[in-house]
Amino acid sequence: MNIMLLTLSEQAILLLAGLVLFTSFSLLAQPRIVAAIRTFAWQGLLLSIVTVMVAIDTGLHHLYISALLTLLMKAIFIPWLLHRLVHKMEFQREQDILHHPVLVLLAGGILVIFCYSIALPIKQLSNSVTQPIIALSMSMVMLGMLMLITRHKAVSQVIGFMAMENGLFFAGVSATHGMPMIVELGIAFDVFVAAIIFGVFFFHIKDSFDSLDVDHLSSLSESDS
């Protein structure tokens, strides 16, 4: 689909989708935890704006509810919760260790190309403005996974996990214009509960090891005293 044939608002959807992918990349390269939480909030905000614009473009009203849910959960509630936890545990200045930031970014680029080639056959099935976004949303899932693998601190792993969930939501919006409402509500509730449980786990990990580095979890308690 040539971008010149689309209307201005449809071009804006694609532009914002590109920006959402960029927030995924900046999450990948951001070692500061507070800044990563802020980037995650931006991602949620952009995602809900894209959803609203798709809703306007396609005239599907249930997408407004999905957009509102995304805004409340991903852009406001979860970032606020993570911020509060980080402040409570006095981790504001904490940085995650990124061993090879340049290699990780390059791997992210390769993952995007991989997802593009995977999504090519899927794109044949749909014929709407959002069809090029399917590849982007799949690569957001992959980038979230890459973030989970490369990070050591529990907080940034949770952000990576939530970014993966954002990618899945985005895939739902772009491929089939949203999921059935019952599924969407269920996922929102799951994410809500998960965020709270993660918070409880943070405190447990911090109490036991005095750090949020999950590498400590793999060492036996008898072996080091």
């Binding site: 689909m1 040539n2 071009q11 990349f25 930031p101 593009y116 590849a135």
Partner: protein, 320 residues
């Protein structure tokens, strides 16, 4: 197709190139003036860079004892390269005969040539600072060049040509199209321009602090008219990057016909765009602190990622 044997066109090229070169110190003066006002300092006059250059041109050249031919040749090579680079960038009018002779990849090559000779000259004397500066410059430019080329390829794919004049004309003729690829290429190219012209998060142009300087470390041994030529060339380089960014991504107003009225409009438009770009640059420089040298590769890998994203989003989102 652009006609290469066009006498009137070549006169225009000469006028535009000299305007480019003679207005570059004014841009630097305007940057300094803005920056001083933003930081509550009393500002030097807008024409201070001209006075500095004038003063340097009237001083004697002191050559180090062991300076070889390369050291003496380098200022002239750099100045010549920048002059040619200035002649192929459309400043206020497109479709000039000089732009048919070189495209934007050649431009990247010109910059590389200038940097190569500058680093050689810095190492030629054998002082510690020269070698250090050359090594740092090479580190930065080796990482900046792929990022710049990626941004250039994105532009070339959007416009279907690597010729700057054609790129500008294509982007004007398409009107307002929100292209994710151009947004990313723009961001990537801005980061590269900051690194290459030695502005604040990468290098501080106004200090000679030995631990952090990059460009200044390489030109420490120069004096007199040689120093003046090098300083002038780096001002021209800043102007080249500024005009490149303004005219390629925001080409509106540039003259498409060779008549006086549209050229006047083009000149006013590019002046206005450059002034605005300088304001953005100065605000960014005031807000940001210079980063550690070892963070520069991460900064440039961000530039590379942005340019790569531009390329990918062109393929995925715009034609796919």
């Amino acid at each position: 197709m652009i006609d290469i044997i066009d006498f009137k066109g070549w006169i225009l090229v000469i006028i535009q190139t000299w305007m480019f070169v003679f207005l570059a110190p004014l841009l630097v003066g305007w940057l300094t003036w803005l920056k001083c006002h933003l930081q509550n300092r009393s500002a030097p006059s807008l024409f201070q860079p001209y006075k500095n250059l004038w003063r340097l041109f009237h001083k004697d050249v002191l050559l180090p004892k062991h300076a070889s031919l390369i050291f003496r040749m380098t200022p002239y090579i750099i100045a010549g390269v920048m002059l040619i680079a200035a002649s192929i960038i459309p400043l206020f009018v497109v479709r000039m005969p000089s732009s048919a002779t070189a495209d934007v990849i050649v431009l990247v090559g010109f910059f590389a040539l200038a940097k190569f000779f500058q680093s050689l000259a810095a190492m030629d004397i054998g002082t510690a600072f020269g070698g250090m500066g050359a090594s740092r410059e090479m580190t930065v430019s080796a990482l900046a060049e792929p990022a710049m080329l990626m941004a250039v390829f994105t532009l070339a794919m959007v416009a279907g040509s690597t010729n700057l004049s054609t790129v500008v004309e294509t982007i004007i003729s398409q009107g307002l199209v929100l292209r994710p690829s151009l947004l990313f290429a723009f961001a990537g190219l801005v980061l590269v321009a900051i690194a290459e012209t030695g502005r604040i998060p990468v290098d501080n142009p106004s200090t000679h602090l030995e631990l952090t300087m990059i460009h200044e470390a390489m030109v420490l041994e120069y004096s007199g008219r040689m120093l003046a030529l090098i300083e002038w060339s780096s001002m021209t380089k800043l102007m080249v990057y500024g005009v490149l960014i303004c005219n390629v991504f925001f080409p509106w107003g540039i003259a498409q016909h060779h008549d006086l009225y549209s050229m006047f409009i083009g000149f006013v438009a590019v002046g206005f765009k450059l002034m605005l770009l300088a304001v953005c640059l100065v605000v960014a420089e005031t807000l940001l602190a210079k980063m550690r040298l070892f963070r520069v590769p991460i900064f440039l890998s961000l530039a590379f990622t942005l340019s790569l994203l531009g390329l990918l989003s062109y393929i995925i989102l715009e034609v796919g």
